[in-house]
């Protein structure tokens, strides 16, 4: 899963989609995930990196990550979604 190239993600968690004109805000964990996705990181790497940075079980992170991914997909921020 990769986020679209043209999506602007600012350091303070403001997201702008120039194609749709929609804007969003994310919290710190959400921002970390977007940045990792943008780098093209794999699911496992993302979970690993988050679990190193934050105090949380991998299982919890994994569940929240998939919920978050479902949301960004719903908001059309993902590349070549079919």
């Amino acid at each position: 899963m990769k986020i679209k190239n043209n999506i602007a993600v600012s350091d303070n968690g403001f997201i702008f989609n120039p194609a749709s004109g929609e804007s969003f805000t994310v919290n710190q964990v959400g921002l970390d995930i977007l940045n990792l996705l943008r780098k093209g990181e794999k699911q496992e790497t993302i979970i690993q990196q988050l679990s190193e940075k934050y105090q949380a079980d991998k299982a919890v992170i994994e569940r929240d990550l998939s919920d978050f991914q479902a949301m960004i997909k719903q908001y059309h921020l993902i590349q070549n979604e079919e």
Partner: protein
């Protein structure tokens, strides 16, 4: 090794281009981590989750403020603790230590007051359901019997005739105070003359001693003026009794009904901002009494049966997050281990809910469900809360009134109730139920005691 950062579940929120629509959501995420100096974490660790916690300090200070509100305005004031609001013995005794009489509405509550050590003459017996046995006991104990209907009046007269005792009675009066709905199912109506008729019956019979007049106009009242109307109507009845029979009643009992700081469902502004204070109710009642035409030699004792307003804010319900999920329409739902089984009042309040730990300022609109496998188990339909994780603790505020009496043993058992004393020390005041506490009451007929599957 550096400590890891606190985890918060990832959140993305679309910035909606809404114009101020005046109906933004309340955010209530200011965390409450301690109750009277005791941490929520330790309370849950020691007593389990969920757990009800009562603050003795809050009960006493609220009571003192209420008493002061009336006593600075009127010479003779007496509170009577309305048992149904919360009849845990520890709670009742705090009120009795503060000088409250007892106000009861059933044989069960009556016996409870007697067991607590309240002298019978300081018990007010209200309500439509008093059995003959209840009445005999109350009459013998010199209790104050507030008559609800004519059948009760006749029964008391019969007992009085038979036992040659002179029961102390008042009548409950219902009336139009401009409040909707009018509680006209209790007592005798003022406007249509029923109340005056009942008073005449009592005075004519000579069997009973008419000591007072009582009303209770409703609960969670938001209008002090309704109390002013009620007080002047009772004063008018007292005056007519005085004129016709040269008889002075001892007291006027204005019942309960003052609102607490809770927010009613559908209200736009929070109850903490809009609901009248006890001082406003006190002002309305006492000035109506003093401005009335009723001029007895001694001013009648003013009795208040305030329940909710004295105990709601002293009660907290602590619970934990069981799970988070997303509903089919994308809304966030959070399931707590606290549901309508314990929080009956969530049917009419938007209870204030706060987390018990610090959070970032990110919030999400959430439905709060209880743990019951039942669709109506909704604690809040929509509240903006920080991003709670499974296991996080929450505090539900202003739950001291009615929940610990109207709770249901449904699907699961009732939890511990703890009171934090004035020194910040928690005491268990009601033990959690076990399967035995329920099953010990049951009996299985022999032919049903075995089965094979």
């Amino acid at each position: 090794m550096t400590a890891k950062a606190r985890y918060e579940r990832p959140l993305i929120k679309k910035l909606e281009s809404n114009m101020p629509n005046k109906f933004g959501l309340r955010t209530e995420f200011e965390p409450l981590t301690h109750i009277d100096g005791v941490s929520v974490d330790s309370l849950i660790a020691d007593y389990g989750s969920p757990v009800f916690v009562l603050s003795e300090q809050k009960i006493r200070s609220k009571f003192k403020a209420a008493r002061q509100a009336f006593e600075t305005r009127y010479p003779r004031v007496q509170f009577a603790w309305s048992y149904k609001t919360n009849y845990l013995s520890a709670v009742c005794n705090v009120f009795h230590q503060e000088g409250s009489w007892a106000e009861v509405v059933s044989g069960f509550e009556y016996d409870k007051a007697i067991r607590h050590g309240v002298d019978g003459s300081y018990i007010i017996f209200n309500g439509p359901d008093k059995t003959e046995e209840d009445l005999r006991k109350a009459i013998t104990n010199n209790s104050l019997i507030h008559i609800d209907h004519l059948d009760e009046l006749y029964m008391i007269q019969d007992i009085a005739r038979e036992t040659k005792q002179k029961p102390k009675v008042a009548i409950r009066v219902n009336m139009d105070t401009g409040i909707y709905p009018m509680w006209d199912r209790f007592g005798f109506n003022y406007e249509n003359g029923q109340a005056w008729d009942a008073l005449n019956k009592i005075m004519f019979s000579g069997l009973l001693e008419l000591v007072g007049l009582h009303t209770h106009i409703g609960t969670f009242m938001l209008s002090p003026n309704a109390y002013a109307i009620a007080a002047s109507k009772l004063a008018n009845l007292a005056q007519r009794v005085q004129q016709k029979y040269s008889h002075e009643i001892n007291y006027i009992d204005m019942g309960g009904g003052f609102s607490s700081r809770n927010t009613l469902k559908g209200a736009y502004l929070p109850g903490t901002d809009t609901n009248p204070s006890i001082d406003e109710f006190a002002e309305a009642i006492t000035s109506a009494l003093m401005n009335s035409e009723y001029r007895p030699k001694t001013p009648p004792l003013l009795i208040l049966e305030t329940g909710r307003a004295l105990i709601d804010e002293a009660g907290y319900l602590l619970g934990s997050v069981i799970a988070n999920k997303r509903l089919s329409d994308g809304r966030r739902a959070t399931i707590l281990d606290v549901g309508v089984n314990l929080l009956f009042t969530s049917f009419w309040y938007d209870h204030k809910i706060t987390p018990a730990q610090e959070f970032t300022s990110y919030t999400e609109d959430t439905v709060i469900y209880g743990p019951l496998c039942m669709n109506i188990d909704v604690v809040r339909e929509n509240v903006s809360l920080p991003l709670l994780n499974k296991g996080d603790k929450v505090v539900i505020h202003y739950v001291g009134a009615y929940n610990m009496t109207q709770w249901m043993q449904f699907i699961t058992l009732r939890p511990n109730v703890v009171m934090v004393d004035l020194d910040g020390k928690p005491h268990l005041i009601r033990k959690n139920e076990s399967i035995d506490s329920i099953e010990n009451l049951e009996e299985i007929p022999t032919h049903l005691s075995h089965f094979e599957l």
